[in-house]
Symmetry: C2
């Protein structure tokens, strides 16, 4: 039986993949935040949507440079990802605090991160204003993946687990591959 | 080590939750499709983004009525979900074919589905044109969940598994709860 729940229960669409978004200010400062409100929205060209709260430093930086990288952490990085999502970059250099090392991008000036499963270089092509947040639609300019963990069908689920955010401190991961019947 | 992969590899952002989207034409016909390019984009009000290919019947129906429901299947429904994603509603009545039963909505005229983990009533507030696809931004007007499977922290991951789409016939599910350190 269904029950009706309150309209602020957005966690009904979780667990969902969680990423580290690296952004850069016009003066070159970097920030990182955890983000789970991310989705592909087009395949040709490959466009992604990223929703960002307007009060965040990431919002300010993306507005300044129109760039970001989406970095894909593994389940082993859950504690770091939670910290990335619960501290503001206004007070501290989050990349240093979290021990994150950058890796240069090729098509944009905002770097990705080392020691992830992979990362995507993204360049904003549209902004959708939603009062408290903005949805950035960005074109993916390059994709990098750990070569030992990626197959032509995507992540090798027998070798790695994708980290998913549930609610608050709660996370989970992907599980084994299930093949639907033809 | 990272390797660079081709720009059409959108599966790098999969596995991700997969839903059944029910839409309705102005004449009252219903259709259902599988969709994984869905994300919350605002929490107050609760808005969701849904990317739909413009060639699809669902696109046509949502344009006609500005409504849809997002239905959350469980892992047991993987074969049905794959079928919902690989057949067009132009030739057949997909709801009948898939054995889906509808459940009336309260705030919109497009129904949800029975026997899911839950569903959301959605009303379009914005459309973003992306050439081959459109992103519908919709306000969530009601949320229903299986009362035995939902807690105040979201889905009870010890009792249910959320179905995630990987690539093609490949799916996976959520796993056990992991609590990040404070």
């Amino acid at each position: 039986m269904y029950k009706s729940i309150s309209l602020d229960s957005y966690h009904v669409l979780h667990p969902r993949p969680v990423y580290l978004v690296v952004s850069r200010s016009s003066s070159g400062r970097l920030n990182v935040m955890a983000a789970s409100w991310v989705s592909p929205v087009s395949d040709e060209p490959f466009l992604v949507a990223l929703s960002v709260w307007k009060g965040s430093l990431t919002y300010q930086y993306i507005r300044e440079t129109g760039e970001f990288t989406i970095n894909i952490p593994s389940e082993k990085q859950v504690n770091m990802v939670f910290k990335a999502g619960s501290i503001s970059g206004r007070e501290v250099d989050k990349l240093t605090l979290l021990g994150l090392k950058i890796m240069p991008s090729k098509n944009i000036n905002t770097p990705g991160l080392e020691d992830m499963l992979g990362f995507l270089e993204c360049k904003v092509v549209k902004e959708i204003d939603l009062d408290e947040s903005t949805v950035f639609i960005a074109e993916v300019k390059a994709i990098y993946v750990r070569e030992d963990l990626y197959t032509k069908y995507g992540w090798d689920l027998s070798k790695t687990r994708i980290l998913l955010h549930h609610a608050g401190r709660g996370f989970t991961t992907s599980s084994r591959l299930i093949l639907a019947e033809k």
